[in-house]
Structures are given as C-alpha cells and as structure tokens.
Symmetry: C3
C-alpha cells in the first residue's frame, strides 16, 4: 500500500457538492463531515459524534442553522466543533468537541488540511483555470476501489493513452515518443514532458478544436504531490508557429487537464477530474462532447484500476514489477511520496 | 465486541415460526435447527450433520415424521439428537449424535438454553402480555448486522426517540426528562424510569388511543439481561388520576413493549419486537396502525445500528466514547453483561 | 483447506472455450491466460503483464496475430512468453518474459501443466469417450465456491445421489448398497465400485434408455488424483446377460460420466462435467434431456457445496467429522492427495 502523506491539503469535494445537506467523505482513513453555513462558508468536522460515534453525515442527522445535530441522540455542535447541546442535562462535558479541520475554498475545490496542527501559511496548490472566465470547464468525480498510488502511476505515465484510451485520446505517438522527467524535490513537484511534433489528432481534440490533419501535441505534466495533478496540453496543426517569447500562444489550442487524487482508505481513492479549455468557450456542443468523452476516458481508467487492484490483491508477497523508461515519472512520484510520508 | 453470556435462555424464534419446515438460526455462534414434532412439541438440535457438517436446516434436508434427515447423505436423527440411520450399513456409530438443546415455549416465544449442561429449574423470564387474552399484540423480527451490545445500548437509552424516531414515538420531552436507574445485581435486571408529567402525545399514541392534547407519559424499563427487554409504557391525558393503590389503573392506556435481543454472531443480532396494548383490543385499524408504525420505528433502529456498526468497524483501536447521564442505564447493562459473561 | 498438488496436469478449459478471445482462468492460485494461435494451437501464459501486473485476459488487452498485447501500456508477448514490444523505447529488457505453461489438447479438454519444470514424458490421464464417434456427449462447467476437496468427497461417495439427487439419478439402492474400495498408490488412482443387482431405474436412465422396470446398475469409479474422475456406469434390465469375456457388452447401456476437478483458489473450484453415452447416439431429444437433467444434478451439487463451504467457514478450529463405510473412497482420496501434495 502506498503510505499516506499527512500534513497536506487534500481536495475533499467540489465546491458545488458542499451545501446545506451534510456530506460525508473519508480522507486518509479520517471520516469527515462537510457542509456550508447559512452565509456560505464551508465547514469540515470530524464525522463521528463524540457520544456513541454515530456519523453526523447520516440521516436523520441534520443542520440546525449553522450547527450539526446528531440523528441518534441529538448531540449538537457548532462550526468550531464545540458541542452546544446534549440531551437530558444542562451541563455539557468540556471534552465534547469534534475535530474542526482547516478548510480553503479555491479553484472550484473545497480543500481540507489533513494533519497534526495547522497549515500555518501553507496554502493548497493552484488550478486557476477551473474558475477562470477565460476557460470553460467540464468536471466530475469518480471513486476508485484502489490504492491511490495506482492512480498516481496511471497519470504520470501517459503512454497508456495509446492502449487504454485508443479512439479517445490515445494515438500511436503517445506511446512511441520518449519523455523527459525532472523532479523539484523542494517544491515536491514532478515534471514529465512529452512533445510530439507530428502526430495523429485523436477524436478528443479533432472534434473539439475542428483541426483536420496532423498536429503538434505537447503534454507537460506537473504533479504537485500528493494531491494535485496538472496536465498542460497544447495542440496545434503541424506547422503552426510556436508560442511567443512573452508566453502568449495565439495559434494553438490549450487544454488544462486537472486531477485531484485524494486517498480515501488504503484501497479507495477519489478521482476528481476536470478539463478546462481556452477555445470554443460558449460552444455547448463542444462542452457536452468533452464532458462525455473525458468521462468515458476516466471510466476506462477506473475500470482498469479496479481490475488491477483486484489482481494485486491476489499477488504473493514479494511479487515483481518491471520498470522501463516510461516509468521514470511514476517512479519519481513514488519516491517523493515515500519521502513525504516519512 | 460485547462478550456472549452463556448458560442462559434465549429467544430463538416466535412460536409461529417453528413448524414442520426445518428452520435454521444461529445463536451465540451456534447453528441451531428448529422444528416441531407431529404432536406440536418444539425441538432444537445442532444444525450440522455429524458426518460432513451439512446444515440440517437446508434443503433437501427434511423431516421424516419426527426425525430430521440430512439432505446430503441421509443421516437421520431423532428429537433427542441420536442418529437412527446412516447409509450403506446397519451399525450406527455410538458417537453419531447431535446436541439437543433444552427448549421452552412460553409467551409466544421459543426459548432455547445456550450453555453447558442443563438449565436445572431455571426458566426463561416472562412476557405474559404476549399471549394474554387481555392484550392485543403486534410483533415481528428483524435481523441487524451489529453487535448485540449496540441494540442493548439503543433500548436502554430512549432519549434517542426524540431524534431517531421523531414523528413516530419521539417528542422533545423524552430527551429532556432525566431518568432514574437502578440495578438488581442478583436478579440480573436493570431498571430505567422516565416519568414525563406533561408531554406532547406522539402519533404512535395519539392515533391508537384517540387522546387529543398533552399527556402524562411513563416509561419504565426492565432489562432482564441478557435477552429480554420490557418497556412498561403508561399514557394518560394530563390531569387523569394516578393508578390505584391496588395496581389497577382504569384511567390510563398501557402498552407493553417487548424486545428479545438474541446475539447471533459477533456482528449479527436478532431483534424480536412486540407491542401489546390493553385498549381497543378488537380494533383492526389500530392493530394495523401500530404494526406499521412500530415496524417503521424498528427499521429506523435497524438502519441506524447497521450504519453505526460499519462506522465502528473502521475505528482505530482505543477510540473513545463520551457518556453522560442518559447513559447510566446502558452502562449498567454493559457492566452486568460483562459480569455475567465471566 | 485441501493442499494443492503441483507438478500435475489440470483441465483449464474445454477445447471449445479456447479461441481468439483471451480467456483468463486461475489454477491453483496461478492466473493463466488461454488463447489459440491463428493456426489453432492452444497457448497458456501467465496472465499478468510483467510491467504493472495488468491481467492480459482483460479488455482492452487483445491478440495481435499470435501475440498478446497488454491493454494498459501495450507490452506485447509471443506464444513462448517472450516480450516483443514495450512502449517508448527500442530495447526490450531481457527479463520481460511471461511463464509459458505446457499445454496438451486431449479428449475435448485443454490440459495445462502446473508445476516447477516440465512434465517430461508425463501425459494427462485419458477420457477418450469425450471425442469418440462411438459416443454422444453433453458437457459443461460450473464454478463452485468451495475447496476442491469438497467436490472430491462428493464424487467419491455416491450414496449422496439417493438424497441430494433423488428424482434424478438417486434411488434407495445407491445408499443401501455397500461399496468396495481399492487404491493404486503407484498410479495415484482410487477405485470405488458399487454393483446393484436389482434396483429402481431413476428418471435419468429410464428416459434416456427407454428401460421400463428394474435394472442392474453398476457404478465403477476411477479417480485419477488430483484432477480426473471417471464413473463407468452400466445399466441393463434385470436378467440381462453379463458382459462377454472379451469385454463387449451388447445387452447393456453404458454411460461414461467424466468430471475434471480443477482447484482455482483455496475456495473456488472449476467443476467440468461430461456425460458420454453409447446408445441413442443421434437422438436429439435424448441429448437434450441428458444435458438438462445432468446440469440440474450438477447444480444440486454446486448449491450443496456452496452451502457446505459457508457452514465450514464458521466452524471452530478442531471441529469433528464422523466417517463410516461409505467414506472409504473419499478418505482414500484425501490420503492420496495429501501424500501427492508433499
């Protein structure tokens, strides 16, 4: 099992998922209750009543104003986790208090700090495209019955697009083109780049951009361990001018593919996925196409990782993997996660 | 896990469930076969054939007269558990014998003695309302996927009626009114009383008694550990006379709520429930209403305890509960069960 | 759990099941991929890609000519298990190689050698009736959620036909008639014979042979441990002449009942069953009747063994069985398997 990295920000939900209905999620084996106050502030508390451990996210537990009331015996807690009511007596025990988790709402996500103590000045990494007016976004979340390390492996090695996602985002060039991998140990970021100069244009891009013919296709991954994965994808017809020196790039199409990889338990993972594009912003057909196409791609990964986890569950201890050049990104990520977990 | 208390009587089934079809139940991890002889006597035997351990309650096992014939190879046993037939030979091994359990049919239940040796003169505790002509009864059984201790906790602390059973049997006064708890260590009985002088009348009582307006509501629990739970419930309009000195109580409505709590395995429990009333005896609408209403209440408990058990299954060792005044009954019951289990 | 016997041939599939779609089976805890080359040769390889352990039998893994391509990252292997392609680089690691299992196609089965090293000259045992023009065959395979030892027990002791298969193949005489058991330790074969001189004719034989009235019924079992079970069944009207000295037997009906018992995991077993007859060869009604009837019989065993395994799973360690004369065949098989496993 891939060790959990504590003292980090994790995506617990999309902002749109957190409202006036209690929502329960398990992050790094910790059960967490999410809801929003009447004035719109997200709250994250331990999802177990201190009395008999009933989940506060489970009906008939419910919000009473900004407080959460346990559905079993009525213990009630404020947004700071402090108990404000117990049944049958006036005195409230001093120890009746839920863990209140630091929360940040940013880039369409609700981030929760999992760790001992406070994040201090540390903020979650950014994915600004997800709520920028200059991008149109499709997104979703799929739970996977696997160790989160399998999803990290999957996303760091995109050669699998050719085989698992052929006919969607994969073409022969993805598997054929060598990658360059660098690791920023201090920042905790793995970079993997694959630049294809002359490649087939897969349906995902052909149908959304309207490009006919072959493309230049760049895949630049930034994995901010442990939770945030960014894939800067640049697509342009072969022969288009490169980006300008000032960073502008008017002749290419850009897609920012974002994954938040949140370990739930040792074999359950939340796979938050989003695709932000800087073209055809108001074209609903393109939006619907990309939503459906990328959901299909995500489900191909989900199915494969569910199968893979079950296969690994039956392996004898000490089984072997064989790694090659395409795995340098994934192996770098594993090393980084192992170091951060210590 | 709450330790099992052996050398006790347990309810294995309602009398009406035991007939000429073999019935299998597991009590305290012991698989038990129940059936009734041709002249109506209930029988309880070990539910495993001595030959290859096939369950005698499973088709095509079947009764042949008063004997049970294994559906796999035909080993046949009498009501005393002694084997009377084996295939392919005349000689029957002397050790071919099932455990025969002491059985008592009483108060609409089939009670089985689980323990070493015989019960001697010890009889099961009584719930005489359940087959008395002076009461009308609705009843049922629901299996719960939980430690039986969770059901004991649930029933000993009725403050949960206000939250889990609001709109059925709960009103604010149940959670608000303090309880008195006493324990008869010798008899193995926990008493918990809550007398509400001026309380809302919940739908359960309003619709069955016809009372309009507020009520005096008494809840007097007798928990005969480990299996039998009695709730003597007295309801009368506020201002009605109290019971007479001779015990008669003509101005009040009485409901005897009976639960038999039978541990099946460490995380499965049989929840036998019954509601006996001394009013509207022949009113079928009231009977149907109480059956449906109480079944709903029981299912609210079942759902909550299934959820709670799953939550507890993921707790780290050494997790904490916080107990308050309402828990004195439940904690007394836990101590009593622990003592009896030793 | 019954110990696995390695260094043996096991039936992995019917020949008809192995084709140009990858087929995954687990034998003795080893995941195995089966397919057929373009020129019809069956292939058995380890069913885990050496790279990240993805199952090669799982879509989108697929055959490319005679090679199997992993559906995750495209690693490709020849029929000898040697890797011929990896993504992103020309050099193929020398250790990239799947285990290739010895395979024999014989008597309608695909046999796979599970063990260390090669079978040498050792060939699988024979069941020649299954692809002989002198017999008509019905067959199928059912997985059972049980230790394979339970299926061996079942088949070696046919007294269960009377009870579990009454109305199909069982009659009172099967349970009543004593057996003779012999063991050929060197060949690893257990023989169990039961000759009934004057028995009811069960529907299985009455409807297929047309015999009316009582029969002579011989059951001669050869269990070639660990995998192949043969039941030579001879049925004739009472009073018919015995077989001739030269082995011919024109006055009787012969059915060769074949089971291949292949352990999958410690509690999953493949139950390959076949019924070959030497009469009514072209009668489709008889074929359909025997297929349906025997499938029902097999499912009665499957249901009973699933029930039995679940019952055994809850037994306390050191539970007892009681064996009698009918068990001599099963006990001999257990001893033989235990010796072979060592």
């Amino acid at each position: 099992m891939t060790a959990f990295v504590r003292n980090q920000w994790y995506v617990a939900a999309y902002a749109r998922e957190v409202g006036r209905e209690p929502l329960g999620r398990t992050l790094l084996d910790e059960p967490i209750l999410l809801y929003r106050t009447e004035d719109g502030r997200p709250v994250a508390l331990s999802d177990r009543c201190v009395h008999r451990r009933y989940p506060l996210s489970q009906a008939p537990s419910r919000l009473v104003g900004d407080r959460i009331q346990c559905g079993y015996h009525g213990f009630t807690y404020g947004t700071d986790g402090v108990c404000t009511y117990v049944p049958g007596q006036q005195r409230i025990p001093r120890t009746a208090r839920l863990t209140a988790y630091p929360v940040v709402e940013q880039d369409s996500f609700v981030w929760v700090w999992i760790g001992d103590g406070e994040p201090g000045g540390l903020l979650p990494p950014r994915a600004p495209w997800l709520d920028s007016p200059e991008y149109t976004v499709v997104s979703g979340m799929e739970p996977i019955d696997c160790d989160y390390g399998l999803l990290v492996d999957n996303l760091l090695d995109l050669s699998h697009e050719t085989y698992l996602h052929g006919g969607y985002i994969g073409t022969p060039e993805v598997a054929e083109t060598p990658i360059t991998t660098t690791v920023d140990e201090e920042a905790g970021v793995v970079h993997v780049s694959r630049h294809m100069d002359d490649a087939e244009c897969p349906p995902f891009y052909a149908n959304s951009t309207g490009i006919q013919g072959r493309i230049t296709r760049w895949q630049d991954i930034e994995y901010h361990a442990p939770c945030l994965y960014l894939l800067h994808s640049r697509v342009a017809p072969v022969g288009s001018p490169p980006p300008n020196a000032d960073g502008t790039d008017p002749h290419a199409f850009h897609v920012e593919v974002v994954y938040a990889i949140t370990p739930s338990t040792g074999r359950h993972t939340y796979d938050f996925w989003a695709v932000a594009r800087d073209f055809a912003l108001d074209d609903r057909e393109v939006t619907e196409f990309l939503h459906k196409n990328n959901h299909t791609v995500v489900m191909q990964d989900v199915d494969a990782l569910n199968v893979l986890q079950k296969a690994l569950d039956t392996e004898k201890p000490g089984y072997q993997e064989l790694s090659i050049n395409i795995d340098t990104g994934g192996l770098a990520a594993r090393r980084l996660l192992a170091r951060m977990a210590r």
